[in-house]
């Protein structure tokens, strides 16, 4: 067994010195970011070409991530996997914020709200409300368990069949994370090509290099400290443009409060133009349009187009999707492992609060982006003569994100003659607000930070699932320490390359997979971890049956509804398939556990220990047969 010697917790004086140092570093970084932006604004004023400003932002941020990555080079597993469990609650909150908010949150969420109106709020509530469950039911116990990975948790808790439960959990973690990371890499490529004129494929590889410099050398330790910096960049970049836009349109630079005005204006404009109301709930019909696109792209015969309107006006899809996203949040391994990195269960509780606060800052602002740009479009674009549209539209028409077609030939632009790609809502806001290019480049750097920080966390989950869970714990438990490290790093490299190769063709299916990742996580990890913590009677047979059954039911509903939306229950779409997977998982877990022998005594003792918020766990020594007295091997030091 590879043993790590001498990794002791910090003393109180060391902890407060550490916090002061962190506050000083990141405080100066924040000031530096502002000064750097101001200098580029000045240079832009005196005629620095736009391309240089873009490059300055990309290279500055990538160099910074590389610097933090190299600074945190480590040879300790405890640091590589869980950042030494020394991350203070506040900073872990920022890191979780960056880990959580991906290219999708940063760029696409405001656009989704633009398109869906009220129905899009399922994402806002779903992607924040899950943190309540995380704080109350998961995080402190996960931390008390004190392992390295989520399959570690599942395998230790359901220890009667440790290898099998670990294997199933590791495979689930890989499926969920690989789909997700591919979408992040796609996001990187899009940002690189749109803003900096790089070829999409080159952009993917430059971005990947950025991911690798942070995660390769220092694992979780360097990822954590990079993510804190990335959070600062992304939140500054997200708040600045919309604050200016709010100031310009309403006179008050406080978008979160002032977009109520925008909503009122939108309602009046809609009435005068006879448009459907933006805030009217439950307008989405079920359709298989996305399946058709995906099938065509892969070269299969697409299904017949079908639209089901029977359930428009009922709240079921909205409520189910919200629940699915919440349960999925709590089941995502890359978020759960962030709570291994704090010093204690008590810090874990507070840390979830900080995490959600930092996420809330962006999520409470996203609907403002959507409302202001919808107001701008209805007021100044729709109904205008096509040859007299506002200046900002022209550059976006060139990129193809905005298309206008004078279908009725009257020279005026009607609402239905306008097609908007959702990504434009955030990306075009600096121009709509009349801000200089430097701010647009800052937004691009923010989008890049969002995509890279999430990709980092996901790659680590994939590499540890292979190197730690499958190799070191199942295939070769006597693997020397150095080989585990080598394999971890090799797996980061390999999974990064796989993600890049999957991202190159830009499959529509990938986007779908990300939406599905939440359903898959809700159908696999959520019930198994929840009952693992709170129900002593849950045993390995139940967990295995639950995870596999949940996965199958979830996939079955997803695929059936995706191809033929007429197959549905209460009008739930494939996006909410996790509801059924989750129910199946819970049922199987409970029934099979009750039908088979209870978990052995040492596991019940383990669950008892979980409930005590202080001290380290005492786990049975590895290899002890079920039923024998627990050994004293401290957690995470096997």
């Amino acid at each position: 067994m590879a043993q790590e010697a001498g990794y002791t917790p910090l003393t109180r004086a060391q902890i407060s010195a550490f916090r002061r140092r962190l506050a000083k570093y990141y405080g100066s970084f924040f000031i530096f970011l502002i000064i750097f932006t101001l200098i580029l604004l000045l240079l832009e004023n005196v005629g620095l070409p736009k391309a240089y400003i873009g490059y300055a932002f990309i290279f500055l941020t990538l160099a910074l991530y590389a610097f933090i990555g190299i600074l945190n080079f480590t040879r300790r597993l405890e640091e590589y996997y869980v950042a030494g469990r020394r991350v203070p609650a506040f900073f872990n909150g920022m890191a979780t914020g960056a880990d959580w908010m991906s290219a999708a949150s940063f760029i696409s969420m405001a656009g989704t709200l633009w398109l869906l109106g009220y129905d899009g709020l399922a994402y806002i509530m779903g992607w924040t409300g899950g943190y309540v469950l995380l704080a109350l039911l998961f995080a402190p116990y996960i931390r008390k368990f004190g392992q390295y990975t989520i399959p570690d948790f599942v395998a230790t808790r359901y220890g009667e069949k440790a290898r099998l439960t670990r294997l199933v959990a590791a495979i689930c973690a890989i499926i969920v994370s690989l789909a997700y990371v591919t979408a992040q890499v796609t996001g990187v490529g899009i940002i690189m090509s749109r803003f900096f004129g790089l070829d999409y494929r080159v952009g993917v590889f430059v971005g990947l290099a950025g991911v690798l410099v942070c995660s390769f050398l220092g694992g979780m330790k360097s990822i954590t400290w990079t993510q804190v910096a990335q959070y600062i960049i992304l939140i500054v970049a997200y708040l600045i443009p919309v604050t200016f836009l709010s100031g310009k349109l309403t006179g008050v630079p406080f978008p979160q409060l002032m977009y109520g005005q925008a909503l009122s204006h939108i309602a009046q404009l809609e009435q005068s133009m006879n448009l459907a109301s933006y805030v009217q709930p439950f307008k989405q019909a079920l359709s298989n349009a996305s399946a058709i696109t995906a099938f065509k792209q892969i070269g299969l015969t697409p299904p017949e187009p079908i639209t089901v309107r029977d359930w428009v006006g009922t709240p079921w899809q909205f409520l189910a999707l919200t629940l699915c996203l919440m349960a999925g949040t709590v089941g995502l391994p890359h978020i759960l492992i962030r709570y291994y990195t704090v010093p204690s269960p008590k810090e874990a509780r507070i840390s979830v609060g900080w995490s959600l606060f930092f996420i809330w800052l962006l999520y409470v602002t996203a609907p403002a982006y959507a409302a202001f740009s919808r107001w701008e479009v209805l007021q100044n674009v729709v109904g205008q003569p096509i040859n007299a549209l506002p200046a900002w539209t022209t550059s976006w028409i060139r990129t193809g994100l905005l298309t206008i077609k004078d279908a009725n030939g009257d020279g005026l632009l009607q609402f239905n003659e306008l097609t908007i790609n959702p990504d434009i809502v955030v990306l075009a806001t600096p121009e709509i607000a009349g801000l200089p290019f430097t701010i647009a480049a800052l937004v691009a750097a923010g989008g890049l930070a969002a995509a890279l920080s999430t990709a980092d966390g996901l790659l680590l989950v994939i590499s540890t699932a292979v190197a730690h869970d499958i190799y070191a714990k199942i295939i070769n438990p006597n693997a020397p320490y150095g080989r585990r490290f080598f394999l971890s790093r090799l797996m980061i490299l390999i999974s990064a390359i796989i993600a890049a190769l999957l991202a190159i063709p830009q499959f529509a299916l990938i986007v779908q997979l990300v939406a599905w990742a939440f359903s898959l996580a809700a159908s696999t990890f959520f019930p198994v971890i929840l009952l693992g913590i709170f129900w002593k009677r849950a045993n390995a047979n139940g967990a295995i049956a639950g995870m596999i059954g949940g996965l199958i039911v979830c996939f079955a509903y997803m695929i059936a509804n995706y191809i033929d939306p007429r197959i549905n229950v209460l009008g739930l779409s494939h996006l909410s398939a996790g509801i059924f997977g989750m129910a199946a998982n819970f049922l199987l877990l409970i029934i099979v556990s009750l039908a088979t022998a209870p978990a052995p005594k040492y596991i019940e003792d383990m669950v008892d220990q979980l409930r005590i918020p202080v001290g380290e766990m005492r786990l049975p020594a590895p290899g002890t047969a079920p039923g024998t007295a627990p050994g004293v091997a401290p957690a995470g030091h096997d």
């Binding site: 309540v132 469950l133 704080a135 039911l137 909503l263 709240p315 809330w360 409470v364 220990q609 005590i612």
Partner: protein
């Protein structure tokens, strides 16, 4: 103090019960602010508040998510500062 063996089980049980009362109370609030208003969003939208937000839209886009943040801090602070102390589960040192 560390590990289950040293803790007497009646104290642990009482601690667990009190903790669950807190968790369930907060979960009821979480459920209410998430699920009770969307079914009535269409009629709630006729009411305008603050700078002109339709109420139904505002409850989902701002109210619910702000309550979430508060719920977590209430949980964390009550557990760390009140309940853990009452049952003697305080950090060593």
């Amino acid at each position: 103090m560390s590990g289950a063996p040293g803790v007497d089980s009646t104290r642990l049980e009482a601690y667990w019960k009190e903790q669950w009362r807190l968790i369930l109370t907060l979960l009821v609030i979480w459920f209410a602010v998430t699920y009770l208003h969307p079914p009535f969003a269409a009629s709630l939208n006729n009411i305008r508040i603050l700078t002109g937000f339709p109420l139904g839209y505002w409850l989902s886009s701002q109210f619910a998510i702000t309550v979430y943040v508060i719920l977590i801090f209430v949980y964390a602070l009550t557990m760390n500062q009140v309940i853990d102390k009452k049952y003697g589960f305080e950090e060593e040192e």
